[in-house]
């Protein structure tokens, strides 16, 4: 049998583009995205699947890419924040986060946006409780959650009360 340190060949589709990557078995998916593919929009923070910063969509479901092995993504169809909008053509969710002051430092924002898109794809008009339930695993340590909840409401076409301090 070959050596355990032999790299694996992984084929995956990210944001509609196919990639063939050679990576060791211990490589996490977030590292493969950031270091092998150069897609640094996805962030890593807690590294144990708790904080939500590394949220990506894999085969239609959001997952924590920091506790997913790259080899698990062989054959997968992945969407990262880079596949949701571009600086010149923001996704309505991204525009809503700007309009409602849904971020400050921005580290959690790619995960918040990817998670919000998955929520709205499944439930286009979520209630406030449904938004809280869905996003409770996406931690933010500076903005505060009210503006994030407002951003999701706005992105889903629901009325938002003016938030003091929002940009």
């Amino acid at each position: 049998m070959n050596d355990a340190s032999q790299p694996h060949q992984i084929h995956l589709t990210v944001n509609g583009k196919g990639y063939d990557v050679s990576a060791p078995t211990r490589r996490t998916l977030v590292d493969l995205l950031r270091y092998d593919l150069g897609l640094t929009g996805t962030k890593e923070a807690c590294s144990v699947g708790v904080c939500g910063a590394c949220t990506i969509s894999m085969n239609g479901s959001i997952v924590a890419s920091c506790i997913t092995l790259a080899v698990q993504a062989d054959g997968a169809d992945i969407t990262t924040i880079e596949g949701i909008g571009t600086p010149d053509n923001l996704h309505p969710i991204q525009q809503a986060f700007i309009d409602c002051g849904g971020f400050q430092c921005g580290i959690c924002t790619p995960g918040q946006i990817v998670a919000t898109k998955a929520l709205l794809d499944e439930n286009p008009k979520p209630t406030e409780d449904e938004i809280k339930e869905w996003l409770m695993g996406n931690l933010c340590r500076c903005t505060g959650y009210y503006q994030i909840i407002d951003s999701v409401k706005k992105a889903s076409g629901q009325p938002v009360a003016p938030t003091p301090g929002a940009v």
Binding site: M1, A4, S5, H8, P24, T25, R26, T28, S47, V48, G49, V50, G52, T55, S61, I62, V63, A64, I67, T68, L69, V71, Q72, D74, A115, E133, W134, M136, G137
Partner: protein, 284 residues
């Protein structure tokens, strides 16, 4: 994390053969939500990871006469959202919805969660209360075991033998008229593990308890089936005082750890309080 062999068998016999070959140095790998964290912390250090992701036939929820048959590789989220699960065993869907966050439930598998045997998990107490069984398959055959009788042995320890795999979880239909409660004490955050948790299911007639099942999570080295509480109430009138007395019995059954969620003493007290509340919910 260090390097390891990653096997991706494409049939159950192939997976079981690999598990048999690597009884001492291999691990079945399902969703990985628990295993990858343990590997990162060097708490699991196996040379061979045997992925089940490409093995056909291990996912899905089937309604049969004796209850739900759930493939071992079925995701938590599928139980939470399955119309079949909600119609036959709604308590199961409810309890799986309490696990961690949607990101984890999208990946974590039913069989993987049971095999992980973290005593703080949400599903095991509910599975015990519902009378669930698991089908264990190995290269040499299969057996079906109850989750109530010694399956959970210690922290992260079960009676699964090396080479065996949970291929199916069998959950009996929820009895008609049964009332259920899952109380998860979460003083910190909504996605946390329970500080203590209680699952209960009961049927009663004219105020008399006909059947009662109670189990606790996060209250000792394994999920705890509180048979003393059940025996104290079955056949009796479910009065507030009888419930209070029965709930007091859990203090002697639990053995919680001191940690940042509370001292052992505090959790023991909360186990009594939450057992009482769960009993009130299903009996009064």
């Amino acid at each position: 994390m260090r390097d390891f062999y990653f096997h991706a068998p494409t049939s159950l016999p192939e997976a079981l053969t690999l598990l048999d070959e690597h009884k001492d140095d291999g691990r079945p790998f399902a969703g990985g939500t628990a295993l990858v964290v343990l590997m990162k912390q060097s708490l699991v250090d196996a040379d061979h990871m045997i992925s089940l992701a490409r093995v056909p036939g291990l996912t899905g929820i089937r309604k049969e006469a004796d209850g739900l048959h759930i493939g071992g590789l079925t995701r938590h989220r599928d139980i939470e959202t399955s119309a079949d699960a909600k119609s036959v065993v709604p308590f199961l869907s409810e309890v799986y919805s309490h696990v961690a966050t949607v990101r984890i439930r999208n990946v974590a598998t039913v069989g993987g969660g049971i095999a992980h045997a973290d005593p703080s998990q949400d599903p095991p107490p509910a599975l015990i209360v519902l009378g669930a069984q698991v089908k264990l398959q190995s290269k040499n055959g299969e057996r079906v075991v109850s989750l109530s009788d010694g399956f959970f042995q210690d922290y992260y320890e079960t009676s699964i033998e090396p080479g065996e795999l949970i291929t199916e979880v069998i959950v009996p239909n929820q009895p008609a008229g049964a009332r259920t409660a899952y109380l998860k004490f979460l003083p910190r955050t909504a996605d946390d593990y329970a500080t203590v948790a209680v699952a209960a299911m009961a049927t009663s007639e004219g105020g008399v308890v006909k059947t009662l099942k109670v189990a606790l999570g996060a209250a000792g080295p394994t999920p705890i089936h509180a048979t003393a509480v059940e025996q104290a109430l079955v056949g009796k009138q479910a009065t507030p005082q009888a419930i209070r007395d029965a709930a007091d019995a859990v203090a002697a059954l639990v053995d919680p750890l001191d940690d940042f969620r509370g001292s052992s003493e505090y959790k023991r007290d909360m186990a009594v309080v939450f057992t009482r509340r769960a009993l009130e919910r299903v009996l009064l």
